[in-house]
Symmetry: C2
Subunit: 357 residues, 2 copies
């Protein structure tokens, strides 16, 4: 039996979108391929409210995260972490000999503009990474406020943001917020299968990359950028055309729903799940910064999350246990992509029924 | 109108295989995901005649090529090049500050065991890269003979082979030939959509990687290896499950055809195209080392290849112009994947008709 996924990616994909994955092959060095990739770029620019270049990478979001840090850090990077995926960015710097420091808060708390200000005031850093939406803790960071700080006080710092689990589920204004490299991937709020990563890149980030040697090859953002400029949106290596066909189609669906409507739908689902969590359990993250695409519920009743998920599976649903050290201490319900409030209600009613709430 | 692809990847994908790309989502941290990935590994081991570990990477073949060189070169790498993709391997080393030298032959010629012996006799190198099938020139290198040399005289050298455009189209005996890292991707003779790369990795390569620092993150072969060992074939980042569903299914089809039958079909197509090429034009590569998955035809008649391809397009076919500096000087006909001799004959008849041969 198919289990309806309420995990923080992969998420459910609509059948008509899935069908686009089965589009017959085209050559990747054709005008048709250029047009497909140009169309995607234009639609992604709308989604991200940006004039920056959009770039696709046949990799997971991690691939482009690594590429950004390695390609654009000239001096030293500051990694602000609120959980596992913030930490991953630091591990990527270490694995690439990129000078970096990690600033991790206690899980459940956000990265604040005040914290960023204090770190950047040292003058040691020329690149920072921030997780917009941290699925291990359920925090959505105030990226807009951090961006405002950078614009005002640290205009030379390259601002890299992981929007893997929020893009298309929450409003992200790349230009207004001053994000230099904004990274996402297909299998979260974009509601597509996993296998493709997407980023926007600013002139400032490109200029930074030009000053960096040893940027590698496949994940070198400058190489990608120069290639697509020269070859009309084609890529150095053969890209995953199935994902591109599906993404192009799904972006039409998203723009048809209307960006504001889509973001409002996500807020409505998040508010509903948070109210439910507070009624029966507690929220794990500080509520002011609770995510709009995923709710992390503190397991105050000491239920067996593994057992709950087994029973949900028999009814055709799947949620997530706590991440890493939070296993059995929290459980996570994703409400992103094409999920509706009605489906969320159905899930929660089943959880209540199983747990006898 | 769909154009039937006779280009060296992407190639035509059978409709039932394409449909597997549209399989509904599953969680990538489930037993179901482990089983899918384990099944693929076991079938790929048959295809490659190996007991080595199989690893998947959501990237193009280039991703794993870069990963192999960066992860496993302890001292210095020797890149044997017979064309554009051999050169790419050298560029990857340079982009990663991996000490390396390139040994490029005149295009159209192979890398011979004698050349490799001469280079390795210097004692400077602990890793070599060889392209099994070079699509820019149409050469298929004697990898088995080179492997025999290494086994006999240089057992400590890590042997990396690019089989991107030959795997599943030509017999590649990984264990018998002593290949330590054997890399391929989905969109060539495996006859799947682009978007996934596959490699086998030997204990020797793993031991080499353990001695290398600064291996990066996403393309770090040791990290991949250790993760799938620990997590029953799951991967550190969310992988492209659609490609995995399609690959698993297509490997069943391939094994059902029978490996020897499949390789024989490719040889038969290659012999037919080569005979045709020699009748009307000339072969670009030395015939003894001509590829069995792609024929590179020397444009001795001075035809306009671009014009030929335009006219073929109107009839629903697509071939490739010469690669890079060979543009208009050669043209390339791929005969790989699920292509049949009947389809090849139909293509060649159309070319004859267009050119008035």
């Amino acid at each position: 039996m198919h289990k309806k996924l309420f995990i923080p990616g992969p998420v459910e994909v609509k059948n008509d979108v899935l069908q686009k994955m089965a589009t017959p092959m085209i050559g990747h060095r054709t005008k048709e391929a250029s047009k497909l990739q140009r169309d995607i770029s234009e639609k992604m620019m709308k989604l991200f409210y940006t004039k920056n270049q959009v770039m696709l990478s046949t990799s997971s979001g991690s691939g482009l995260m690594e590429g950004a840090v390695r390609s654009c850090t000239r001096k030293r990077a500051a990694m602000f972490s609120v959980g596992a995926f913030g930490n991953r960015w630091y591990d990527m710097a270490v694995g690439n000999n990129v000078p970096a420091d990690k600033f991790e808060v206690e899980w459940g708390n956000p990265t604040t503009p005040e914290q960023v200000d204090e770190v950047l005031a040292t003058g040691k850093y020329d690149l920072i990474t921030v997780t917009h939406n941290e699925t291990s803790t359920g925090i959505m960071n105030p990226v807009g406020e951090i961006g405002k700080l950078l614009k005002e006080k640290y205009p030379d710092v390259v601002f890299c943001v992981d929007t893997v689990s929020s893009a298309a589920g929450a409003k992200i204004e790349v230009d207004e917020w001053g994000i230099d490299v904004c990274i996402t991937s297909t299998q979260k709020a974009l509601a597509l299968p996993p296998g493709l990563a997407i980023c926007t890149i600013s002139e400032k980030a490109i200029e930074a990359a030009k000053q960096v040697e040893n940027r590698g090859f496949y994940l070198d953002l400058l190489k990608l950028y120069e290639y697509i400029q020269k070859k009309d949106h084609q890529y150095p290596s053969t890209p995953s055309t199935p994902h591109m066909f599906a993404l192009n189609y799904q972006l039409d669906r998203i723009l048809e729903e209307g960006l504001e409507n889509r973001f409002a739908r996500h807020i409505e689902m998040a508010q509903y799940v948070r109210a439910w969590a507070k009624k029966h359990f507690e929220l794990f993250p500080v509520e002011e910064y609770a995510s709009n695409t995923l709710t992390n519920v503190k397991n105050t009743k000491g239920i067996s999350v593994a057992d709950l998920n087994k029973k949900l599976a028999m009814r055709g649903f799947m949620i997530s246990n706590g991440y890493g050290k939070l296993k059995e201490k929290t459980f996570r319900i994703a409400h992103m992509g094409e999920t509706t409030l009605l489906e969320i209600k159905e899930l929660l009613e089943n959880i209540e029924d199983i747990l006898g709430l």
